[in-house]
C-alpha cells in the first residue's frame, strides 16, 4: 500500500510527514489512555490475552507488512519463548522479568538461525521452509523432557516483579503486560519509520532495485526476521506468565495460521491493524466459546468476507477513508 506521503511533492510531503507524525502521536495517546481505563470496564485476563496476541500479530506484521516476507512458522518463536519462560520461572525460579527476557532471547536466537536459512529462498519456498522448521520445533516440544509433552508446563508461578512486587493480582499484572505491549508497539513504530524501515520497504517493493542501489537486501531481511522473532518471543513469554502455562497450542502450526488471520483481518502493513485483528479474533474465541464448532466456522467466514470485500483489512479500509496512514 503506497503511503500518502510517497505520493506527494517534496514540500507537501514534508508537511504531510509532520502531520502524520502528529496524528500518530495522538493515536498512541489514545491507545495509552484506553489501556489505562480498560481493566475497569473489561475483564483483565481477557485484555491481557488480547494484548499478548496483539503484540504477536504486530511482530508478525513487521515481517509480512514491512518486510514482505510471509513466514508460516511464527508459532515456533512464540511457542519456544513461552516454554523457556515457563521453565525459567518454574524450574529455575527466576523472577518473571528475567524469565520473560530469557524467553524473548530464545525466540530471537531461534529467529536468527531459522531466518538465516529461510531468507535464502523467496516466496512460497520461504514460507514452506519456515513452516518446516516450525514443525521441527513442534516435534521437539512434543518429545523434549522439559516441555512436559502434551500436558505442557503447568502451574508456572507468576512470582514477584524484580523480586519485590507481587503480580499475582490480575490488575497489577495487566499494567505490566500493557507496558510490555506499548514498548513493543513503539519499538515497531520506531523501526518502520527509521532509515532501516525505509530500506526495508524499498526491498519489499522492488528487491533488485534496492540491491542495485547498493543495499545488502539479505542483511536487512535477516535483521527484520530476527526482530520479528524476538518480539513474537516477547509476546509468547508474556503469555506464559499471564496464563501460568506453556503448551503445545503455542507451537502448533494452527497458531502460525491464526496470526496470519489476525494480521490480514486487521490490516497488513498498517501499524495499528494487527491490534484490531487480534482483538477481533480473540474476542470471538472468548465470547463465542459457547457456540462450539461454530467459532471456527465464523472465523473462516470472516476471513473469506475480509479477503473478498476489504482486502486491506479493517484498519486499511479506515486509513483509506481517513486518507491518513494508520
Amino acid at each position: 500500500m503506497a503511503s500518502v506521503s510517497e505520493r506527494l511533492s517534496v514540500g507537501g510531503a514534508r508537511r504531510e510527514v509532520v502531520e502524520t507524525a502528529a496524528f500518530h502521536r495522538a493515536v498512541f495517546v489514545w491507545i495509552a489512555a484506553l489501556l489505562l481505563v480498560a481493566p475497569f470496564v473489561l475483564y483483565p485476563v481477557f485484555l491481557m490475552k488480547v494484548l499478548c496476541f496483539a503484540l504477536f500479530a504486530c511482530a508478525f506484521n513487521l515481517l509480512l507488512g514491512y518486510g514482505g516476507l510471509l513466514s508460516f512458522g511464527h508459532a515456533a518463536y512464540f511457542g519456544i519463548a513461552s516454554y523457556v519462560c515457563a521453565h525459567a520461572a518454574k524450574v529455575w525460579g527466576l523472577t518473571p522479568e528475567v524469565a520473560i527476557l530469557a524467553g524473548t532471547a530464545t525466540g530471537g536466537a531461534l529467529g536468527l538461525v531459522f531466518g538465516w536459512l529461510a531468507i535464502k529462498r523467496q516466496g512460497i519456498y520461504f514460507a514452506m521452509i519456515t513452516l518446516a522448521l516450525a514443525q521441527m520445533v513442534f516435534f521437539f516440544s512434543l518429545q523434549a523432557k522439559f516441555t512436559g509433552g502434551e500436558d505442557g508446563i503447568q502451574a508456572v508461578p507468576r512470582g514477584r516483579l524484580l523480586g519485590i512486587v507481587s503480580i499475582a493480582d490480575d490488575r497489577v499484572l495487566y499494567y505490566i503486560v500493557a507496558g510490555i505491549f506499548l514498548f513493543g508497539l513503539l519499538a515497531i513504530y520506531r523501526m518502520i519509520h527509521s532509515p532501516f524501515g525505509q530500506v526495508l520497504k524499498a526491498i519489499r517493493d522492488n528487491e533488485p532495485r534496492a540491491i542495485s542501489l547498493g543495499y545488502r537486501a539479505n542483511h536487512y531481511k535477516l535483521m527484520v526476521f530476527v526482530l520479528s522473532a524476538t518480539l513474537a518471543g516477547l509476546a509468547g513469554a508474556t503469555k506464559a506468565i499471564v496464563f501460568q502455562l506453556a503448551s503445545l497450542t503455542d507451537v502448533h502450526w494452527s497458531m502460525s495460521g491464526e496470526v496470519v488471520l489476525m494480521t490480514l483481518v486487521g490490516g497488513m502493513g498498517t501499524v495499528f491493524g494487527p491490534i484490531v485483528g487480534a482483538a477481533v479474533i480473540v474476542t470471538m474465541q472468548n465470547y463465542l466459546a459457547h457456540l462450539g464448532a461454530w467459532v471456527t466456522v465464523v472465523q473462516g467466514a470472516i476471513f473469506v468476507v475480509c479477503v473478498l470485500l476489504f482486502r486491506e483489512g479493517i484498519i486499511g479500509v479506515l486509513a483509506r477513508k481517513l486518507r491518513k496512514p494508520l
Binding site: Y43, V45, F46, K49, L142, Q143, G148, G149, E150, D151, G152, Q154, A155, D170, K239, F243, Q244, L245, S247, L248, T249, D250, Q285, N286, A289, H290, L291, G292, A293, W294, V295, T296
Partner: protein, 400 residues
C-alpha cells in the same frame, strides 16, 4: 398483646429470611470439547447428563437453584484456563465439570485451586490430577490411565493373554501408558515380547501391525489415543489380526470410538471402561432417558461420570448447607458416593473417586442385536484394585 404481635412478626421475618437463605443459587459450568475429537465423548452429552442429575436430585424442591452453563475449550489449555478464570471471576460459577484432554484439565485444576472453587473432572485421563498435581479442590471422577492400564493389562493376563506387544505413540503420553500397562502385565505374571513406537500423529500403521503379528504375542496393546487408535484398529481389521487369534487391546478408547469404527472393524477389541449403558437395569433406564434427549446416542462413561459427579456435588451442598469449596469438598470426601450408574464408591483424600471398572470385549457384528449393542462383559475389576493405591501417587495431600 402488642408484645405478642411483635414477637410473632419478628419470628415471621426471621423465618422468611431463613427461607430466602435456604434458596441457594448454584452455578455449574460444563467445560469440554464441543467441536473437536472429543466432542462425541463429552460435548453436549455432558450438559444433558448434568441437567439430568439436577432433575433427578429434585434440586428445586430442596432449595437449590441450579443453573448450567457450558463452553468449548477447543482442547487448548490456554482457552480452557481463560474460560475457567472468567467463569469463576465474572460469571459466578461454583464448580466446573467434565474437561476432557489432560493438558486442559491440569490447567483448570490450577485455576480452580487458585480461586478456591471446585473442579470435578470426568473426561481427562491424566493420573497427575491425583498425583503430583493433586489439589484439595479437585476430584477425578470417571477413570484414569492407570485404571485403564490396570483393567486391560491385569484382567487380560488373568484370562490367559500373558504375552504382549505394544504399539506406542511416540510421545510422553504414549510412553507412560505403555509403561503403566507393561508394569501391570509383568506383575500379573505376563511378559512383554516387544514394543514399537510410531510417530505421532501417524496414519500408516501397516508395518507396525506386521511386526506385532510376527511377534506372535497373544495381545497387541495399543498405547495411543484418538485418531491414531482408530486408524490402528481399522488397519488391524484389514490385516485380520483378531481373526488370526491375537487380541487387540485398546488402552484409551471409548464406546463413541467403537460406534464410529463400526463392529466390523472393532470386533474382538478388548477395553476397560467404568460404565456401559447396557450393563444393568439402572444403567439402561438412565441411558434410555439420555438417548431421548441426545438424538438416540447412548451415553459414554464420561457422560455418566458427569451425571454421577453433579449428583454427589449437589448432595454435598445440601449436607454442608453451604456452597463454599471447603465444606463442600469435605462433605464430598466424607459421604460415600451412591448412584444408579456407578453404584457405591467413595472419594479418596487425593481426590480420586473409586468404583468398579469393567473389562469388555467388542461383539462380532452377528452377535449384536440392536443399535449400540456393542460390548460383552469379560471381567469386573473391584474398586479396591482398580485404581492406583493411595500412597503411590505422590500426592502431597496424602502425607498430611
Amino acid at each position: 398483646m402488642k408484645l405478642k404481635t411483635m414477637l410473632l412478626a419478628t419470628a415471621l421475618v426471621g423465618a422468611l429470611a431463613g427461607m430466602a437463605e435456604a434458596q441457594t443459587a448454584v452455578k455449574i459450568g460444563v467445560l469440554n470439547d464441543r467441536s473437536g475429537v472429543y466432542a462425541d465423548l463429552s460435548g453436549e452429552g455432558s450438559v444433558i447428563a448434568a441437567r439430568m442429575a439436577i432433575e433427578d436430585f429434585k434440586a428445586a424442591d430442596r432449595g437449590l437453584k441450579v443453573e448450567v452453563v457450558s463452553a468449548d475449550h477447543q482442547n487448548k489449555p490456554d482457552i480452557g484456563a481463560s474460560i475457567a478464570r472468567k467463569w469463576y471471576d465474572q460469571d459466578g460459577v461454583d464448580a466446573i465439570f467434565d474437561v476432557p484432554t489432560s493438558s486442559v484439565a491440569l490447567a483448570v485444576n490450577q485455576v480452580t485451586r487458585e480461586k478456591n472453587k471446585i473442579f470435578i473432572d470426568s473426561g481427562a485421563g491424566s493420573t497427575d490430577l491425583t498425583g503430583p498435581q493433586c489439589s484439595p479442590n479437585t476430584i477425578h471422577w470417571t477413570y484414569d490411565t492407570y485404571a485403564l492400564a490396570k483393567g486391560t493389562g491385569g484382567a487380560m493376563v488373568k484370562k490367559g493373554g500373558d504375552s504382549w506387544f505394544f504399539i506406542t505413540a511416540d510421545y510422553a503420553f504414549g510412553h507412560s501408558l505403555e509403561q503403566n500397562t507393561a508394569d501391570v502385565v509383568k506383575k500379573a505374571g505376563g511378559k512383554v515380547l516387544g514394543t514399537i513406537r510410531h510417530p505421532f500423529p501417524g496414519s500408516d500403521f501397516s508395518s507396525f501391525l506386521l511386526q506385532a503379528q510376527a511377534s506372535k504375542a497373544k495381545v497387541i496393546g495399543l498405547a495411543n489415543a484418538g485418531g491414531d487408535t482408530i486408524n490402528t484398529i481399522k488397519q488391524a481389521a484389514e490385516f485380520g489380526v483378531t481373526q488370526g487369534g491375537q487380541n487387540l487391546a485398546g488402552l484409551l478408547i471409548f464406546i463413541t470410538d467403537v460406534h464410529a469404527l463400526g463392529l466390523k472393524a472393532a470386533q474382538g477389541l478388548v477395553l476397560t471402561e467404568s460404565f456401559y449403558w447396557d450393563r444393568d437395569d439402572a444403567s439402561r433406564a438412565f441411558s434410555k432417558r439420555f438417548a431421548e434427549k441426545s438424538g438416540g446416542k447412548m451415553p459414554s462413561m464420561v457422560h455418566a461420570g458427569v451425571y454421577s459427579g453433579v449428583l454427589h456435588y449437589l448432595k454435598a451442598i445440601e449436607a454442608a448447607k453451604s456452597k463454599d469449596a471447603g465444606p463442600v469438598m469435605a462433605k464430598m470426601k466424607e459421604l460415600p458416593t451412591d448412584d444408579p450408574l456407578f453404584g457405591k464408591g467413595q472419594v479418596r483424600a487425593d481426590g480420586r473417586k473409586i468404583h468398579d471398572m469393567y473389562l469388555f470385549e467388542v461383539k462380532k457384528p452377528e452377535e449384536s442385536k440392536a443399535a449400540w449393542d456393542y460390548y460383552k462383559l469379560l471381567a469386573t475389576i473391584p474398586a479396591a484394585e482398580a485404581f492406583r493405591p493411595l500412597n503411590e501417587g505422590g500426592c502431597p495431600l496424602v502425607k498430611g
